[in-house]
Point group: C2
Chain length 303, copies 2
Amino acid sequence: MSYPKVALIGLGLIASSMFWAMRRAGMDSHVTGYARSQDTRDTARRIGLCDEIVDTAEDAVRGADLVVLAVPVGAMGRVAQAIGPCLKPGCSITDVGSVKAAVIEQVRPHLPEGVNFVPAHPMAGTEHSGPEAGFAQLFDNRWCLIVPDGASDEATERLEAYWQALGANTERMDVAHHDQVCAVVSHIPHLIAYTMVGVADDLSRVSDQEVIKFSAAGFRDFTRIAASDPTMWRDVFMNNKDATLEILGRFTEELFALQRCIRTGDGDTLHDYFTRTRGIRRGIVEAGQDTDAPDFGRGGKKD
Amino acid sequence: MSYPKVALIGLGLIASSMFWAMRRAGMDSHVTGYARSQDTRDTARRIGLCDEIVDTAEDAVRGADLVVLAVPVGAMGRVAQAIGPCLKPGCSITDVGSVKAAVIEQVRPHLPEGVNFVPAHPMAGTEHSGPEAGFAQLFDNRWCLIVPDGASDEATERLEAYWQALGANTERMDVAHHDQVCAVVSHIPHLIAYTMVGVADDLSRVSDQEVIKFSAAGFRDFTRIAASDPTMWRDVFMNNKDATLEILGRFTEELFALQRCIRTGDGDTLHDYFTRTRGIRRGIVEAGQDTDAPDFGRGGKKD
Ligand SMILES: NC(=O)c1ccc[n+]([C@@H]2O[C@H](COP(=O)([O-])OP(=O)(O)OC[C@H]3O[C@@H](n4cnc5c(N)ncnc54)[C@H](OP(=O)(O)O)[C@@H]3O)[C@@H](O)[C@H]2O)c1
Ligand SMILES: NC(=O)c1ccc[n+]([C@@H]2O[C@H](COP(=O)([O-])OP(=O)(O)OC[C@H]3O[C@@H](n4cnc5c(N)ncnc54)[C@H](OP(=O)(O)O)[C@@H]3O)[C@@H](O)[C@H]2O)c1
């Protein structure tokens, strides 16, 4: 059972991919879209994104059975505040934010009684953003984490069925655990990649031109991940502080231990460490979670 | 002008790929191979690697016009010591080590007068190792850095032509600069990936099973790079101490600054940082150094 009327608030990579995936799935929902800037709304109209593009978030959500908040994490609260009074009683509202505790804290107070809030997080993306970045295959075989956080079973199951129709696998998770898992598998890897690229960019003795030329030796994929949208990632770190700082603390601790091994010439410890980390890789390959071409979490390919 | 007789010392990923690439190029060199273990020599004979597999390094190099040291960086010195007295006067000797200053320091003292030592470093690899890991395409369009370090122009040009025939682009570089460039584009990215995987493996609140399941969100490619051979990487860090420690120092410094931004809620600085790092990515794409599928430096694909 799909949703007859869907409102997409924010028309970037995720929302536009959702729209194309809905069309591919043959859903006959009427989809209304809204984005903050005239520019994005014009583009959306030009490329046929959504059945209708409207000029205010309030207009977009009126009468909708499902409202999807697809804006940066830091903007979720303000959007919820604006649309709260216009939500149809009994409708479902979800978000696609990469962080869950902070989004729930910022969104929930603005929602009227009788509305079903079912937070979710499709774990799929590319380094591109905006209304033209989306494609129908983005969520295929990727995980969409559903964080019911008190939502009814019925509303939760309906959203799960929706995401599955878009191509994703779904899994329920509690709020705090979601934010921890994502800190490990996504947020800190991104921060580290940004840092590595920043360091390389900043060296005087190795030129940018050389870094670019020889980047294929390992560095290159850090640059892809570090080309992701700055606003999105700023908001992730501002809104998942505790979990990211905890993992970061562990990371620097281990890095210092390895640094010390290099300095003191303790090759045995390095060798043990490099051996131990092979197990996880084996698990990923055995679980069928990797293919020949690593792609930093970008399963689908735009064609 | 190729080399009539070539000796490959060490029969792992790099040496076996060199052999298949020589065959693909139609070189009619006679290739003799040697590896330390009976096991590897047996495998090499079984799969038809080299024209002849011999049981000592000394036998392998006798009469050779080109000797290739393709063993871990930490083993280069001992191998050079064993074969030094058996080298044909006027022959060329090269290595494929990922580090250059330490290899040169360890190898040169064992070489007789009149032998041309031309260190080199093909920047290509996969996370697999051993005699069966090689394939002819490994070096295609990848860089092979040539570090003449005093070798004659004639010997250097001959080695360059050889690597180009194997599919690589060549570039000359001086020793210290080579080790610095590789610390940035390869060694530190690998150390960081190993560390991230080690941290994930070590958490109590997020299980290995979860890390594996949701690895596609960014973490996964760190595991591929961190599945590389432990001996090779131990030797790299033990033998490129100064350059790796310097880059690591810069890395932790920047990481601390970003960590501080997260802690204090300084979103503007984070946003600026995440914006700045996009430039290098643009450079890489413009230079044609990346394709759609990031592969952590593993250009060729085994089929
Ligand atoms: N990209 C990923 O890899 C990924 C993966 C999983 C989840 N997510 C989450 O999905 C959400 C959207 O990401 P995306 O990649 O689709 O972003 P995007 O391509 O950058 O699009 C963001 C959209 O939000 C609008 N917007 C930005 N700031 C706003 C504000 N202050 N108020 C109202 N609207 C605003 C933008 O409007 P204008 O175009 O008019 O500026 C744009 O339409 C984020 O919460 C992110 O955490 C992203
Ligand atoms: N893999 C890469 O990504 C890459 C890229 C560029 C350069 N390199 C460099 O290429 C060299 C070889 O790497 P590889 O990937 O080909 O390694 P590999 O597949 O692990 O093979 C190493 C070979 O060296 C032999 N060997 C190991 N330890 C030895 C010792 N102490 N004495 C004598 N022989 C020994 C091994 O013999 P057994 O099989 O009998 O043990 C094996 O034949 C290294 O210096 C590495 O730094 C590697």
